[in-house]
């Protein structure tokens, strides 16, 4: 597993901290991490973007792929989005498919009640 992204495990949930710039390379690393956590049996993945300044369209496409993959197997939620990143996800229509929280704590609480049906 690519281990460059930090993460925090809490029960069946895990918080993955996204990099400063989500492009193809960083997006793929995130994808590998999510795959690995799912394989380990985690049911809820919070991707925290509080340290992310930029997400490009290739990064967005990888994130869509992540959501697609997790669909039915668990739940994924986003937290800590800067306004511009929220706007990017809104433009592509991702915010209709994924719950977005102000911070990881809210996301963990929110995702705890989420059993994947939200996807």
């Amino acid at each position: 597993m690519a281990g460059r992204h930090r993460h925090r495990e809490t029960g069946t949930s895990v918080v993955v901290y996204a990099d400063n710039y989500i492009n193809d390379i960083e997006g793929e690393k995130l994808e590998e991490m999510c795959d690995a956590f799912l394989a380990k049996g985690f049911k809820k993945i919070v991707i925290d973007f509080s340290g992310t300044d930029l997400v490009n369209s290739i990064g967005v496409s990888i994130l869509i792929g992540i959501i697609e993959k997790i669909k039915g197997k668990g739940a994924v939620v986003f937290s800590g989005l800067k306004d511009v990143n929220f706007q990017i996800f809104h433009i592509v229509g991702l915010t209709r498919h994924i719950r977005v929280f102000n911070n990881e704590e809210d996301a963990l609480k929110g995702s705890a009640s989420c059993d994947g049906a939200s996807l």
């Binding site: 710039y21 300044d53 369209s57 959501i67 706007q87 915010t95």
Partner: protein
Amino acid sequence: MKNRTLFSVCPDAEFFGRTREIGAILERAKGLRRIPNVFLAGKRWTGKTEVLRRVHRELFWSQARVVPVYYQFKGAVDAEAFAEDYLKEFIKQYLAFRKREPDLVRNETSLERLEKLLFDEDAFGLLDFTLIHREAKRSGDKTAVLRNALGAMELMTRRTGTPVYLMLDDIGSPSHTVERELAASLNAGSFPFIAASSTRAFLEGGFLSSSVEQMTLGGLDPDTSVAMMAELCRSHDIGFDTEMLSLAAMKLGGNPMYMKSIVWAAHREGRDLKDLKSFVELYSGEVFEGNIAFALQSSLRLKNPSELRMLCALMGAPGGGAIPGEELRERFRLSESEFSKTASSLFAEGLAEYALGSVKWAGDAVTADFVSYMFETRIKGRSADEARTAFAREALKEGFIARGARVQGRLREDAASALKSFNGQKLVKILFRNQAFSSMNRGGATRPGERKDSEEVVVPETIGSFESTRWEKGETGPPIIIAHGFANGRYDAGNEVVWITAVKDTPSPVNIGDVENFLRRSQILKENFRTTRIVRWFVGRDGFTAEAQKRLDGEGAFSSDTVQLNLIRDSLEDASVSERLKREDNALPLKEFEVILPASTKAELVAVKAVEEIGTEMGFGDNAIGQIKAALVEACINAFEHSKVKAGKVFLRFVAGGDRLTIHVQNGGVDFDSPAGLVATAETEALPRKRGWGFELMKGLMDEVRLERISGGARIVLVKYLIKKGETGGREA
């Protein structure tokens, strides 16, 4: 999972463009515009229904302040049947919105079942309408039946305080009684509405008195059209050439239905869209005998040979001009009543327009080819193969001509569209003074407070426009468009205005010769109009020579280049653009910075760093800077991807103006990805598509995004104004 479908719409992946129109309609629906009512005009299959249904879907799922009601007219039905259908739709959709129950919108329901449902839901307010309907029907009072149905929305709005937003689709030309009563219900002004049609019959019927803004849905713009065809080709595994798609899109007028039909035909026949011959064969197959032919045949209802003959005459009028009614009557030996009947039928079909006693072709180029084919085979008796061969021969020749001159014609359309949008708006005068505008953009001479060009031009309310060809047989020079209108909102002789507008759409500036030609011709044309006021306007694609500017200014004539024309069009659509242009700090000098990026990993972050510095110095807020950075990253990635040379560089130019930052991103490559124009804001079940978001993101994050074709490639131009735009919210706590 709940099926959230309402009215059927095409899959998001096949819906391109129209983001701006949908946004503008939504703003009106939500009461954010002064004139909320819209007449959405557009030729057949330009996507009016799709736009209205997507607006309905957005309003249904994304807000609770306005009840969206969509009604599609279903051809000729009697007033009573219409009233029942209209009432049922209103009640169904009202209840569906209140209960957030999309099934109710989707499913057909009888009046009896609807009444039972209303009773179960204790919706007695709505139930009243069905009871009155039954009672009026039983007593044979057709007027009461109609008024009850049409008045229901107004009454519910008053009772509940929650307005309805009514979307009337395919309004066409309803029966006299329905038209009168419907207009009366809309005139009451209790709720905003939009009415869509491919003819202006309802708008011009004389019953509608409430203020209505006209919005025209033309074909998709060339870049979006090419992007749409390319995306469809990719998804159907059809090989294509971008240049060929560009030509095809132009020939098809950017009409989504035509473009889809051609791609589907290519898929069916296992052809590609790489060369002109393939396209011409697919095109003639579709337009003469395929799906497009079938659609045109079933919708046009051409009843007799006179109609076909008259249409062919109109299509062949020099310069696409108008033919006087008298001349048509004589040519086809028609009595007054026969002529009137034939012409009315063509107007109703949206194939002809009538202005100042003359008739003009109003259909699109594809319909023209279809009508010509019908004429050749039905009237002239040619075999289908012969007509098709003749067409292919001409189309191939025309296609090659079009290749060399494909840019031409767009400026004329843009100028004509601007003239048609004149509706008494106030525009900043500098947009009509090229000399002053050019000097301002050179960082010149003006200082805040000194500029007189913050004065305004009040444009008239245009009632019609046409080309001057009929009055100018044998004249040479740029085409002239004549637009008639009234000033000051008063429709009398004293306020009649004619705008005489010349358009030079060639890659050279308007010179003194062009100006003298225009002034002479406009002097002659002036004799044709008994008006008190003539306004002369020259639009030049590549601007004006200094001598030409001076002469036009001296004559008191207006002059605009492409940039000014684009700003005029934006200002006509959105008054805030004009307000922004009036700000005196627009006149501050510009600063320019250039950055060259090498082709290396994360090189776009160098551009990001540069724009962060420039943006901060200009006074942009953090969020705006974030938006510019993200858009710039997309432009750079796109430029790198399409660089001709593997290790090609990307050239960036940052222009910091008083009120905006403009960024030019250029590579040495062949092309950029064109804008997909996909609307992604609507509610859908499926996840968004994974790829092709670059342009969409740039458009969403910046105030203006342009793709300019230049010698040897293309350039993306990103513009951000210092005035912040509204931002989207919606995250959870």
